[in-house]
Amino acid sequence: MLKTARRLLTNPTSLSGIILLVAFAVVAAAAPSIAPPPENSRDPFMIPRDGFQTEPEGPSAEHPLGTTEGQYDILYGVVWGTRTAFRIGVVITICTSIIGLTVGSIGAYYGGWLDDVLMRITEVFQAFPFLLAAITLTSVLQTIYGRGEAGPLMFLAKMLAMVTFGSNPTKNVDPVQLQILTGMLAIIAFGWMTYARVIRGNIMVVREEEYALAARAIGVGHLRILMRHLLPNAVFPVLVIASMNTGSYVLAFAALSFLGLGAQRGYADWGQMINFARNWIPSLAQHWHIVTYPGLAIVLFVLAWNLVGDALRDVLDPRMRGHDL
């Protein structure tokens, strides 16, 4: 473990990724100090506005990164958007990994018809183009949640809200958060398949190893073999994929927000902020700041996770050890 950490820290690729991630983490943690929310603010994630003028304003002393259309402060949005990006990226990654690991490992361990059924389900989900499927499911979910009926979907939303926003599951979900959760649920629904396929392949290899056969021979339970012996030896590639996918999930959510399906208007989310630039594409030379800063934040955030994932793969892959990374 220490060796892996040392390798990661001495590798220039991973080091740059880690530095970027740490910088984002610091910005997220210090958001209330860097961009303090207004006193009367109910939700610090709602970007404060300085008037209602349509045309964006350039950088000034009051708004160091300028304002978008509708006078939303860009610095505030970018800073608080970091928290949104971490929340969304990490929670989606955890949920998709858990689903993928469960489906893949059960299929691989028990094999037979169960494996066939689980893998066919996985293939059905894989057959859909990811972003298109996420867009469709988000709109369907927004229609369902708009009706406000309690049901299994509302239960899922409450669980996800508890994990993502720390909200109380016995209370109604905030409508602003609910809109974000619909996008997250859609990405989770169509984002777990890679994990399932990868872990299935790895478990099929390690389940034939001697330690696994020995454990089975002495009568160790299935769950224990799976959790204690097989998963720990098969999970490393999934960590690499998870790290690389975190950036992709944030990107996918930004795409949903850009299309008006993710975060609500005025919420501190990078994709939603770029959405403000849609009406100003012909005059972007003049209003360059409305797209540059949130865009840069997305690019660097995704790049950071990709660099860390790339380095993790190189460090954890035995065939790459000893090579210059």
């Binding site: 603010s41 109910r42 927004q142 369902i144 708009g146 009706r147 239960f155 409508p175 602003v176 769950l223």
Partner: protein, 171 residues
């Protein structure tokens, strides 16, 4: 000995949680299945449609949309129901006027239009014939997504039960 008792206690707790979860899910499932399988479709008339602001002071306004509808069963019973609808659906129902909370920034002041109330509009509803008060706006097109949502919850309930049983058996 103490570990064994703790395991047994945890096992019983998990089984109780699992049973509660499965009971709640089953109740919802029964309510949904009664509509999905035995439900009868009918045309209802919108008697009122309105929007309510649910956001607090100082935050971006957020609206919820409601319709009150009325329909008659083949037995002559008149049933009234209220349903919330999503903003997109509000548009789809043809309520007329500005569909969503419209932002009129040109005036440099926020103004929010909530759409014209269009009483008399007809919507499709689905109801349980034995108990027409159990009705809702037709959700046939949403059934696949609604039904899929039960799968993870049923699996979760089953896993909690299995975990509890496993702990008890270990003692």
């Amino acid at each position: 000995m103490r570990t064994g008792q703790a395991r047994k206690g945890a096992g019983i707790l998990l089984i109780v949680i699992g049973l509660c979860l499965l009971t709640v899910i089953s109740v919802y499932l029964l309510k949904d299945i009664s509509i999905w399988i035995l439900g009868r479709r009918n045309e209802a008339q919108v008697v009122a449609a309105w929007a309510e602001e649910v956001s607090g002071e100082g935050s971006t306004p957020y609206f919820r949309y409601f319709v009150r509808y009325q329909f008659a069963t083949p037995h002559g019973e008149t049933v009234t129901g209220i349903s919330a609808v999503a903003a997109q659906e509000w548009a789809g129902l043809g309520m007329g006027g500005p569909v969503n909370a419209v932002y009129q920034e040109q005036a440099n002041v926020p103004q929010y239009g909530v759409g014209g109330i269009d009483s008399g509009h007809r919507v499709t509803v689905v109801y349980f014939p034995l108990y027409p008060a159990h009705n809702r706006l037709d959700d046939t097109r949403l059934v696949p997504v609604l039904a899929c949502a039960y799968v993870p919850l049923l699996l979760l309930g089953w896993a909690v039960l299995a975990g509890g049983r496993h702990l008890i058996r270990q003692t």
